[in-house]
Amino acid sequence: VPMGLFWGDIAEGVRVEVLNSDTNLSTKVYWIAEIVRLAGFKALLRYEGFDNDSSHDFWCNLGVKEIHPVGWCASNGKPLVPPKSIQHKCSNWKAFLVKRLTGVKTLPHDFSKRVQESTQYPFTKLMRVEVVDKTHLCRTRVALVEQVIGGRLRLVYEESQDGSDDFWCHMYSPLIHSIGWSRSIGHRFKRSEVSKKIEGLIDAPSQLFLKVKDVDQSGDWFKDGMKLEAIDPLNLSAICVATVRKVLADGYLMIGIDGSEAADGSDWFCYHSTSPSIFPVGFCEINNIELTPPRGYNKPPFKWFDYLRETCSIAAPVKLFNKEVPNHGFREGMKLEAVDLMEPRLVCVATITRIVHRLLRIHFDGWEDEYDQWVDCESPDLYPVGWCQVTGYQLQPPAAQSTRE
């Protein structure tokens, strides 16, 4: 996210120069404030001189508002004037500020430049990419970048006549790839039959896309028919019984959800073998997660041992799965802004309700639990509070009881 790489420089106690809104002066004046609390991109600020008085504290988005390091006003000829509510409290502001500020932290001198730079993205309009076909998950299609907001791309499928057949995803989504990717790994691809040529089209360079880890497929590897557990791409609330349907090149796998597969495999879905959305048999049981059995399974309760025997299949070896758990720092109850991956143009107010290793259960505030989604802690679809304000993206507020339908 923007500012992510230098967020460690920002903490409670850091002093900044910010507009002074407690003044009768007609010109813009500034004053020094302390960050007393952080919540996502938002900081609760208290002007110097208010001591323990929180009555004038104010929230400000560090990626949006004019926030400067201490010293910026002097360098830029801007006046530092104490707020009028406390002007009378001190007869020597110079001595007061020297005492308050000596030895404390301020922002880096290039803070504004870094904020600006961190909101630039390499994708531009009219770049061509390969993206999953939202109506046939088993194949990709060519789409054009139509819009870029905060690293999120609005892609329009190349054949769309009126530009309305679109798909939103983050530029680091595992659902988009450079042109030629499908052919290189053996993935199904729907060729576009485009009648008119658009000027200015370019294929997005491959270095712009998410890199996946190299894997060694030469030894023990996934094989067709092996069973596993996988997040259902059509219902991200559920982890389901699934099967490896086809082994592709470069570590990619086509996965089918048992009991709900179309006969022609049109709803198989491509996951990389290192994907945090696929798990070895038994993952749900070990972690006390309800595993969704195959639709129509008529011998509940579902038992893997019996099912493997009944289907004459074997479980994919545990050693082939991604077992890395980043020290992510997420905690249950934390609020964030999260993409509704069933409607990926929407970024919503959400809460983390459960954490299983690297997997987060995301609850969309105001909605029933059945709409919760399992999301990886490193997903590019999770954002700190205030991200929508920083990027100019519309935030979906919590659903009101009456509008849930």
Partner: protein, 32 residues
């Protein structure tokens, strides 16, 4: 450390209606 930045002491100029002065504060900067 991971971001390639480090904290350094800096002389910071402040200019109020009472005049200009400097204080020593900490600010992070790119590692040279």
């Amino acid at each position: 450390e991971a971001t390639g930045r480090k904290w350094e002491q800096k002389q910071v100029q402040i200019k109020t209606l009472e005049g200009e002065f400097s204080v020593t504060m900490w600010a992070s900067d790119d590692k040279k």
